[in-house]
Amino acid sequence: MPLLAFDRVAIHLGGREILSPTSFEVARGEFVCIVGPSGCGKTTLLRAASGLVAPQGGTVRRNGEAVTRPSREVAFVFQDYGRALLPWRTVQGNVGLALEAAGVPKAERAPRVGAVLDKVGLSAHAQKFPAQLSGGMQQRAQIARCLAQTPQLLLMDEPFGALDALTRHGLQDEVARLVREQGLTVLFVTHDLEEAIYLGDRVIALQAEPGPGRPSLARMLEVPIPRPRDQLRTKEHPAFLRLRRELFGFIEQGHG
């Protein structure tokens, strides 16, 4: 059984069709990236997978059961880390919130928070407030909080969109490593083609303004590039270049 299944999921907002009936499945341990131009409903699709948004048609199933509301088994990394972190809590406190919510006894929290911070390389900054950290560090803190949830499924909404290129590359590699180590399943939304191909086992391309004969889901491409991947060599891999060309044409067309 797939971990996550979209079964003819359709979403309308304010009378406008955002997502035409869309079906796809995500297997356990798979890293699926969703790309598309702005306004194509990729974030909405992710929110439907989380249970924050209820679709008007079709069903989202996780482990075979319909998703009707958020669950602790699913973690959501928001793009705007600055707003998603509690500014009045230190990094440690922010990560600990996930454990408080799950009712983890107080004595167990500190070691578990410490272990997660270690994993994302934030141990030295545990006592700092978000405002004292760089954007990349804040996003790491949010990822740490999501990992502390020990989720099955990690939903990431353009998590590196607001970061500079160097930080972005570092975090991409780190997320790839963490996902492999933890055996996580990931649904990753981005508007950056290269990021999608670099990270994904599979890339789903959405197009804006769906209608009759123009479904939201435009392409579904496997990424046959071995792991672990490398910022230089992977991006020179023939398969990478082929996929990039194929998706580039499509996205350009979508922007036209």
């Binding site: 602790r72 707003r83 500014p87």
Partner: protein
């Protein structure tokens, strides 16, 4: 440092000018006394204890009134901010009650409570309640929606959400409301004492005026200003300290 000294130039100059005016043109006036005489009168009041007693009464009732106003205002504001139904059903009552000048309640408060602490506290609480209520409601309304989504995704209970997300998130705005409340409480306290209540700094100033003692009256006036300045400074200090403790970038 130089900037701070410069800020003192104007008040010192004005005091000097008043001193000169009171000693020359208005010498022997029943209305105006030189600041130096006011200072002497202040020392007199400080020595016989009347200064401290009146100050304690005014500040005590202002603090008590503000405490009641904040407690009720914050709870009410949370309720109105979180529940649209409560907001709609109380909107008219609030708009009808809020414009009543707090001083207009003095006769009613006097009938109900008589002279004294309770009557003054009640009027202060009424005056400070409305801004606390309105600002607490606005603070809840301006809550970052992303934080509520985060609390949903983490699976926080309703109680945890209120205690760990909503309340801390509105604290900075509540402090703005509190500073406003402090100013209102002091103004209303002195007003009630001048108008009705035979206690506190306002009343002492009235007595000095009626006893044709402009030096003492001026001493009280200056003292009330100084106390207000100090209290506002303390409130600001407290606000900044809380903001730092809550992770606000310095």
């Amino acid at each position: 440092m130089v900037e701070r000294l410069r800020a003192w130039c104007v008040p010192l100059f004005l005091l000097g000018a008043l001193e000169l005016y009171a000693r020359t043109v208005a010498a022997g006036s029943d209305a105006i006394a030189p600041p130096s005489a006011a200072l002497l009168a202040w020392f007199g009041a400080a020595r016989d204890g009347s200064l401290w007693q009146a100050t304690a009464f005014t500040l005590g009732s202002a603090a008590l009134g503000l405490l009641i106003a904040s407690a009720l205002g914050i709870v009410g504001g949370l309720l109105l901010g979180l529940s649209p139904r409560a907001d709609v059903s109380s909107a008219l009552s609030i708009e009808l009650l809020r414009p009543i000048p707090s001083v207009a309640l003095i006769p009613l408060a006097m009938l109900v409570f008589g002279f004294g602490l309770r009557m003054e506290t009640a009027v202060i609480a009424f005056a400070a309640f409305w801004p606390m209520l309105i600002l607490a409601r606005a603070a809840v309304r301006q809550l970052e929606p992303r934080l509520l989504e985060v609390s949903c995704m983490l699976g926080l209970s309703a109680w945890q959400r209120g205690w760990k997300i909503v309340l801390p998130a509105i604290v900075p705005r509540l402090f703005v409301a509190l500073r406003l409340g402090v100013a209102i409480a002091l103004v209303v306290a002195v007003t009630v004492e001048i108008a009705a209540n035979p206690h506190g700094m306002g009343y002492a100033m009235m007595i000095a005026q009626q006893g044709l003692d402009p030096a003492l009256m001026l001493a009280w006036l200056g003292w009330i200003g100084a106390v207000g300045y100090a209290i506002n400074g303390l409130a600001l200090r407290l606000q900044q300290r809380v903001a730092r403790a809550m992770g606000e970038a310095p």
